[in-house]
């Protein structure tokens, strides 16, 4: 479990501000009338189902979408390079056969003004420092494919940190990794957040990721809710976000979400209520955790 810094509303003013933003790609908006603020020092999760506009929000911060309406303010200026915004893509989008070592990936993020193609001593030292900081220094000369999932995520984090970001955007950083790696990544991000970097990540994992974050934005094309998980993890908000019944319960101080059990091959009755036969799993969850229900 993380020990998140509370949402710092007035800590240093907003680093990102969306005002009635409608944005998308080509002629089709993917998000509509979205307004929110992210304060300097925040650790925010953008939560929603697939295709809900999570990545569009990140790309809108990066000025990489078409703005149909509203206004986006990112502290530090218009250009991502100037405003010290760094982006970590989904690992699924990386070409793992590309001939590139860990050090070469990290050096991509180090901005220098060298004439020669090879890095200067100071650039190499900076890359090594970042790799050591993220515990991948010993793999500097190794091909990126020959690393574990957590190490691979650290490589791209190191490249982003080489950009010296004030705001770090991560697209589904825990997608497709095992539980241990996921915890490792979240703790690492928490550490970076405590060092002063504002972090915004997208996720569709409610309990594993979003429940641990201090501030969550629920989106499904429009903004559904924004707040701490304990405030916004309610059946109504989750129904509006995911379009599915999700009982909410408390466990060791965390607000967690349970899924309605599926009963494949069994059919609802004529009224669409309950099941004709088999175990009523939803009832069981309700009865065993009734006292904890929010």
């Amino acid at each position: 479990m993380l020990h998140p810094v509370p949402h710092l509303t007035d800590a240093g003013g907003p680093i990102v501000k969306f005002e009635d933003v409608t944005a998308g790609y080509q002629n089709e908006p993917a998000i509509r009338d979205v307004s929110f603020e992210i304060s300097t020092g925040d650790f925010v999760g953008i939560l929603g189902p697939s295709g809900s506009g999570k990545t569009t929000i990140l790309r809108t911060i990066l000025r990489d979408t078409r703005l149909f309406g509203g206004a986006v303010h990112v502290a530090g200026g218009v250009s991502p390079a100037r405003s010290r915004v760094a982006y970590v893509p989904q690992l699924e989008t990386v070409d793992w056969n590309f001939p590139v070592t860990v050090e070469e990936v990290v050096l991509m993020g180090v901005q220098g003004h060298r004439f020669w193609p090879w890095p200067t001593r100071s650039e190499r030292a900076r890359a090594q420092d970042l790799m050591d900081r993220l515990s991948i220094g010993e793999f500097a000369k190794r091909h990126i494919r020959r690393l574990s999932g957590g190490q691979q995520q650290r490589v791209f984090l190191a490249r982003a940190l080489a950009h010296d970001p004030a705001l770090l955007l991560l697209d589904e950083p825990t997608n497709g990794v095992d539980i241990r790696t996921r915890d490792e990544i979240l703790h690492l991000l928490d550490e970076l957040n405590h060092q002063g970097i504002t972090i915004v990540l997208t996720t569709h994992e409610l309990n594993a990721v979003a429940a641990h974050l201090p501030w969550v934005i629920c989106i499904n094309e429009t903004l559904i809710a924004a707040g701490s998980p304990s405030d916004i993890f309610t059946s109504e908000i989750l129904m509006a976000t995911y379009g599915a019944e999700m009982p909410v319960l408390e466990y060791q101080g965390l607000t967690l979400v349970a899924e309605q059990p599926h009963h494949f091959g069994q059919h609802a009755d004529a009224n669409g209520e309950g099941l004709k036969d088999g175990a009523h799993g939803a009832d069981r969850i309700q009865s065993t955790s009734e006292e904890h229900l929010v």
Binding site: P80, P89, P99, T101, S148, D178
Partner: protein
């Protein structure tokens, strides 16, 4: 055949291995092929890694159209053909980046064959195109004059300069074009600069290798290098060395074998590929058995 005529008119030298170096045109050809091989190997790395291996083949055809247009418009061949090739490469890049549904292979097919067709159409109207078709298609190393050599050296120096200056940007744009933008890299400019370098390289390669052989000189050295290393900068070095060695050895052997210079260069490259492929397969099998290498992507 040229060699036979020369041998007939010149008495044999003491050391037959050094005999070709007696001739200025051979040295010009050897230097040209070595430089062109190295530059093709350099740009080929980026082309292969961008999944656009056939752009060399397509562009050489497209530039054939540009050569005809520059002839019809009384422009210098190198200038006209390079501009034409640059526009074709730019169009392919723009189509691929902004309309991913078209795909790089389809974009190359459409743009380059259209350009080639324009050349053919203009020839059929003008009917007085003076550059040799055979030389354009299969290369004519013996026809490399001092002016051609100067053009090859100047373009090669410029290409190396461009790659040196934009090494990090080119690498980032090739590896992760979407994300490179977010790190302040002007990917559009990088692509445009690369297209210009590529067009220039294909133009200078036409005389040496011919339209039909350029693709191999661009694709084989980087593939040889890729099989040999997992590091990008080492891949660049190995590819340049393989391309340059292929050019040197190919031209040298073509003297003794008395066959087309372009074909010999490509056959030397292919031989290098077969050797490295066999070696890497053997190494791969051994290492898999040993378990110290191979994909551990989680």
């Amino acid at each position: 055949m040229v060699r036979m005529e020369l041998i007939a008119s010149n008495p044999p030298r003491r050391n037959i291995l050094f005999e070709p170096f007696e001739y200025e045109f051979f040295i010009r050809g050897l230097v040209s092929a070595t430089i062109v091989g190295g530059v093709c190997g350099l740009l080929g790395v980026y082309i292969v890694l961008r999944g656009m291996s056939y752009i060399g083949h397509g562009l050489s055809h497209a530039i054939f159209g540009g050569a005809v247009v520059s002839y019809v418009m009384s422009l210098n061949f190198y200038v006209g053909a390079t501009i034409w090739g640059f526009l074709a490469a730019l169009l392919i890049n723009l189509t691929t980046r902004h309309r991913p549904t078209v795909g790089a292979d389809a974009a190359i097919g459409i743009v380059t064959t259209a350009s080639f067709a324009i050349g053919i159409a203009l020839i059929s109207r003008a009917r007085t195109f003076t550059r040799s078709f055979d030389a354009a298609l299969f290369g004519d190393i013996l026809g490399v004059g001092n002016d051609d050599l100067i053009a090859i050296v100047v373009v090669s120096v410029l290409v190396v300069f461009v790659v040196f200056l934009s090494y990090r940007q080119l690498l980032f744009t090739t590896f992760d074009p979407d994300v490179a933008r977010f790190f302040g890299i002007a990917t559009g400019w990088v692509d445009a600069l690369f297209s210009l370098a590529l067009a220039g390289t294909v133009v200078i390669s036409m005389q040496v290798l011919g339209v039909t052989m350029i693709a191999a000189a661009i694709v084989i050295p980087p593939i040889v290098a890729r099989l040999a290393t997992d590091s990008f900068h080492r891949m660049v070095l190995i590819s340049v060395a393989t391309g340059a060695a292929g050019g040197f050895i190919g031209i040298y052997l073509s003297w003794f074998a008395d066959i087309s210079s372009g074909a010999t260069v490509v056959l030397v490259d292919v031989a290098a590929f077969v050797c490295v492929f066999t070696w890497s397969s053997f190494r791969g099998r051994n290492i898999r058995l040993g378990g110290s290498f191979g994909s551990t992507h989680a």
